[in-house]
């Protein structure tokens, strides 16, 4: 029986300037905040994760410690690791951050290609309503 824990994709890159423990914690963090992982989902133990990612146990331990300090995961009895109940505020905050990032990219591109702020606003209005409109028409 495969449990959800084995479906967790974590990618480690040597060209990423961040230390490996941070690459791991940030990917698990976004899976929790985006809802890919939800409350009560089991995470692999840090030793299993170290084996699977071929990294040091010290590295996975540091990643899990950081996530635990943020209240995103809980370790039960020093063995099992589970996703904690995440406050709706935290999830909203996560979405806001990701939207901000997407808007920043859009704004940068608009500025570089001479598209005005009004045009950008117009696009956002259309998209936001358009999606909702789309759903109503079906």
């Amino acid at each position: 029986m495969m449990s959800k824990r084995f479906e967790m994709d974590i990618v480690i890159s040597n060209s990423d300037p961040r230390p490996i423990y941070e690459q791991i914690s940030s990917q698990i963090r976004s899976m929790i905040i985006s809802g890919t992982l939800s409350e009560g989902d089991p995470l692999p133990s840090m030793r299993i994760l170290a084996r699977d990612l071929r990294v040091s146990v010290i590295t996975t331990k540091r990643a899990y410690n950081d996530l635990e300090a943020e209240g995103l995961i809980t370790t039960v009895g020093g063995k099992g690791c589970y996703v904690s109940a995440v406050e709706p505020d935290v999830i909203r905050e996560g979405h806001l951050l990701s939207i901000q990032e997407n808007i920043r990219k859009a704004a940068d591109e608009a500025r570089e290609s001479g598209i005005t702020l009004e045009e950008l606003h117009e696009m956002v209005d259309l998209m936001y309503d358009g999606d909702r409109g789309g759903r109503f028409h079906h």
Binding site: S45, R47, R51, R54, S56, V57, I58, T59
Partner: protein, 276 residues
């Protein structure tokens, strides 16, 4: 910070032929892999010999922290050369009360070892694999391996490292492994000990050590001085420097390029570089 289950060496001394291994204190942490690196003749094999009982120390204490017995992989395969691998299993069954013949067969299969051949017909790398398979086929709390990847091709080395990774899933297990193939130590070790002239000159968390040191390539006059420059080595088209405290050095010399030091850089600079 020593914890229950750690393997502790205290006041270890072993001398012969003008060589002295002198280790005031060394701790191998339970649940982690420690890589012992250093030049040939630096004392790695002597240290491992003292730990496993194949060498008798002149002085010193060793405390295995109540661990299960150790599985040992020697630099030179000690198995009878005229035996076939298939017969080895019967020999080990007499030596180890909890010998697991099935596990041994599975590991030989995984390592693609032909069991119908005699030990002497195997390449060095294959003999190491047979030793590793034997060490993993009875319950141990610790594996002590002397140059286990010597003679293995890259794919076999990776298979071997995966077997060690699997062994380390159990937090009660400890691995001590010497190697002059520093890339293997970089891949597998949590902690590193650098042995030079019979002394442990550097030890600590591998990642911390690797981010602490840097290599700077500079002009050949070798005249670069400064805080943090600990070794200098003249090369055909310039001079390399070993920097202790890469981040601090870069803050005070933002115009210079300092690459992270690999364990190999570190080993070469510590043993062959001049003090700067």
């Amino acid at each position: 910070m020593i914890e229950v289950g750690d393997f502790i060496i205290k006041g270890l001394r072993k001398s012969y032929d003008g060589f002295l291994l002198d280790i005031p204190e060394l701790v191998f942490r339970q649940g982690y892999v420690t890589g012992i690196i250093g030049d040939n003749g630096a004392g790695k094999t002597t240290l491992i010999g003292c730990m496993t009982g194949s060498a008798v120390p002149d002085a010193g204490e060793m405390d295995s922290g109540g661990m299960l017995p150790a599985g040992v992989v020697f630099d030179e395969c000690p198995f009878p050369p005229d035996l076939k691998a298939r017969k080895l299993s019967a020999v080990f069954a007499h030596m180890f009360p909890d010998w697991d013949p099935r596990r041994f067969d599975d590991l030989l299969e995984e390592f693609r070892i032909d069991r119908s051949k005699h030990v002497k017909e195997y390449s060095r790398g294959m003999r190491m694999k047979v030793q590793v398979a034997a060490a993993l086929s009875h319950p141990t709390g610790m594996l002590v391996l002397d140059e286990p990847t010597a003679g293995m091709d890259p794919a076999s080395r990776e298979e071997f490292l995966d077997v060690i990774r699997e062994y380390m899933v159990d937090e009660g297990h400890t691995v001590v492994m010497s190697s002059h193939i520093t890339t293997d130590v970089e891949k597998i070790a949590d902690y590193v000990v650098l042995i030079e002239d019979g002394k442990a000159v550097l030890e600590g968390e591998k990642d911390a050590i690797m981010s602490r040191f840097g290599i700077l390539h500079g002009p050949s006059d070798g005249g670069l001085r400064g805080q943090g420059i600990v070794r200098r080595r003249t090369e055909p088209h310039g001079c390399s420097y070993l920097i202790d405290g890469r981040d601090e050095f870069l803050r005070s010399h933002p115009d210079m390029v300092v690459d992270p030091a690999s364990l190999e850089d570190l080993m070469i600079m510590m043993s062959r570089g001049e003090e700067a």
